[in-house]
């Protein structure tokens, strides 16, 4: 890295992402409205079902995690989709930028937005449904958030690879990918209730272990002995794989002329 040129390149994608969010009314909806709706609907459902406090916490952790990851991964996924929609992709790749600049730059905005969603939803959960978010302590919260943001980065990087391969058609993947992952990792239920076969798939998703780790502070037993070790190890493997995949699809796009087609 050559500071400060690398810093400026990363900052370019952060500023662009922040400006687009600021001028997009739906960004406010994404950060406040939908997370608010999610907490209200899930929380009220738990009341209707007369669930005990521990189970309510279990489910609310799922709701908070889902929305935080969804929002955090969007900025990363959209980093190239903005350029595809604007048909300016070739100008970005004509410049001396590396994938790291794009991933880190857009990822930073995702991190900030994800953090805000986590705070908003956490406060609503505490205020309306008596969830005690402070029980895991600062360290537990930071580790859990790091796990969520790294998982969001995996989803975002996968979508980037799909955009470079399939262009605008990959837009739907920006949402679908995260829902699929969240479905499998035991968001609203323990992974033990998943059917055989699917349970094994859940074990290769890092978020499964971070949720497990966070929930154990609320008295839920650990199904896996070292959740953080598994979670972070899998995260490193997936991030390395996603980075290589994005690299490969970029090289392939340069060979196939995809960058030009997406700029027409």
């Amino acid at each position: 890295m050559r500071l400060p040129t690398d810093f400026y390149k990363i900052w370019a994608f952060s500023v662009r992402s922040a400006l687009v969010n600021r001028r997009n009314v739906f960004a406010v909806f994404e950060m406040l409205f939908w997370p608010g709706v999610a907490i209200f609907s899930v929380g009220l459902l738990t009341r209707f079902l007369k669930l005990d406090a521990e189970t309510v916490t279990f489910i609310l952790i799922g709701a908070v995690s889902m929305n935080t990851i969804q929002i955090a991964q969007l900025d990363l996924s959209y980093a190239l989709l903005y350029s595809v929609w604007a048909k300016s992709l070739k100008h970005e790749f004509m410049a001396p930028v590396r994938l790291t600049h794009i991933l880190v730059g857009a990822g930073l905005v995702g991190l900030v937005r994800g953090f805000l969603v986590f705070v908003v939803m956490g406060l609503l959960s505490m205020w309306l449904f008596d969830m005690d978010l402070s029980r895991p302590g600062t360290g537990g919260l930071i580790i859990f958030m790091a796990g969520m943001f790294l998982n969001a980065a995996i989803i975002g990087a996968s979508v980037l690879a799909l955009v470079l391969r399939f262009g605008q058609r990959a837009e739907v993947a920006a949402w679908a990918f995260s829902y699929l992952m969240l479905l499998l990792c035991g968001l609203y239920y323990p992974v033990s209730v998943l059917p055989p076969g699917v349970r094994e798939v859940a074990q290769i998703i890092p978020l499964t272990y971070f949720l497990e780790y966070f929930r154990h502070f609320y008295g839920f037993p650990l199904n896996y002995p070292h959740p953080l070790l598994y979670g972070f190890s899998l995260t490193v493997i997936y991030l390395a794989f996603c980075y290589a995949l994005v690299h490969y699809t970029l090289n392939s796009a340069l060979q196939r002329g995809t960058l030009l087609r997406l700029s027409e």
Binding site: V15, V20, K90, H91, M94, P96, L259, S263
Partner: protein, 312 residues
């Protein structure tokens, strides 16, 4: 003479559809462009102009062949080369919700500019392209002309040594197109910027380019300076002679330097090799007959005729 671009045996094909056959777009294209020149690649739509320029601009990799731009290999040294070149294309496209200034700042940053250097460069380009009054207007609200001006401004954000212009004036009104051409010429003259442009506007090529290459169906059919091409193709200049009482029976084809002739009523059209050197001798030969020339019209062969001659 320093060479800014050397392309040797560049070929490129694309697959049509998922399982379809490959379509050859470029066939072993060779080209050299001198530093500090404006070089034009001319050809009809689908000739392979954009594909070729995209390979040189590192946006596309050739199937075979090698190209060096500013001494750097377009594939192996792409990252270093991108710092020294830039591109403006027709149909300018930038992020719709960013203003003119924000778009320029974004591109400035991704070329590694920041702080005062970025502010100064953006200010300079806003002035140069008369974009100051529009700097807070979002891209989606700009007129086509302003969008194209922004595209040219963006192409200079990193003070490139070589500029690729892909149909730079397409979509502009005549006045703005002319202004852009003058700006391109001024940049080339004042800064020595090497420019490779593609166009199918022959007048534009005539005005801007010292040398041109004609590309058709992925092959370079001819290249060189315009007078050089004219001579090589044997097109000569057009000389029209108007007679008072008809052209008489003189063998016009046998006159010095005459390549072809056509008689119509009181007028004879001649194609003459180096007309400025031959005119006196031609008029002298005619004066020895009884025919009397009352008007002489001289017209140099233009690029359109060269283009027609080569591509048909």
């Amino acid at each position: 003479m320093h060479t800014a671009i050397i392309a040797q045996g560049i070929s490129k094909s694309f697959r049509t559809g998922v399982f379809g056959p490959r379509k050859q777009v470029l066939h072993e294209v060779n080209l050299e462009v001198a530093s500090g020149s404006i070089f034009g690649i001319l050809g009809p739509n689908g000739a392979g102009k954009t594909t070729f320029i995209s390979i040189l601009a590192t946006l596309l990799r050739p199937d075979t062949g090698q190209a060096r731009v500013l001494g750097l290999d377009v594939v192996k040294d792409a990252a270093r080369l991108r710092e020294r070149v830039n591109l403006a294309a027709s149909g300018a496209h930038f992020l719709w919700c960013l203003t003119v200034e924000e778009n320029l700042r974004f591109y400035g940053r991704i070329y590694g500019l920041g702080g005062r250097a970025l502010a100064a460069k953006v200010g300079e380009l806003l002035d140069l392209f008369d974009l100051q009054p529009h700097r807070r207007v979002t891209f989606e609200r700009l007129s086509t002309g302003l969008k194209q001006r922004l595209a040219l401004a963006k192409a200079l954000i990193n003070t490139p040594e070589l500029l690729f212009l892909d149909e730079p004036t397409t979509g502009l009104d005549p006045e703005m197109a002319q202004h852009s051409r003058e700006e391109i010429l001024r940049l080339n003259r004042e800064t020595g910027l090497t420019i490779l442009l593609t166009t199918h506007n022959l007048r534009e090529a005539e005005m801007l380019c010292g040398e041109v290459a004609f590309l058709k169906e992925g092959r370079i059919l001819a290249r060189g300076a315009i007078p050089e091409l004219q001579e090589r193709l044997g097109l000569g200049d057009r000389l029209s002679l108007f007679f008072q009482d008809g052209p008489g029976t003189l063998d016009y084809g046998g006159l010095p330097g005459v390549l072809a002739f056509h008689i119509q009523d009181n007028r004879v059209d001649l194609r003459v090799d180096r007309v400025e050197q031959r005119l006196a001798a031609i008029l002298e030969a005619i004066s020895q007959t009884r025919s009397r020339v009352i008007q002489v019209q001289l017209k140099e062969v233009d690029l359109a005729e060269i283009y027609h001659e080569i591509t048909h």
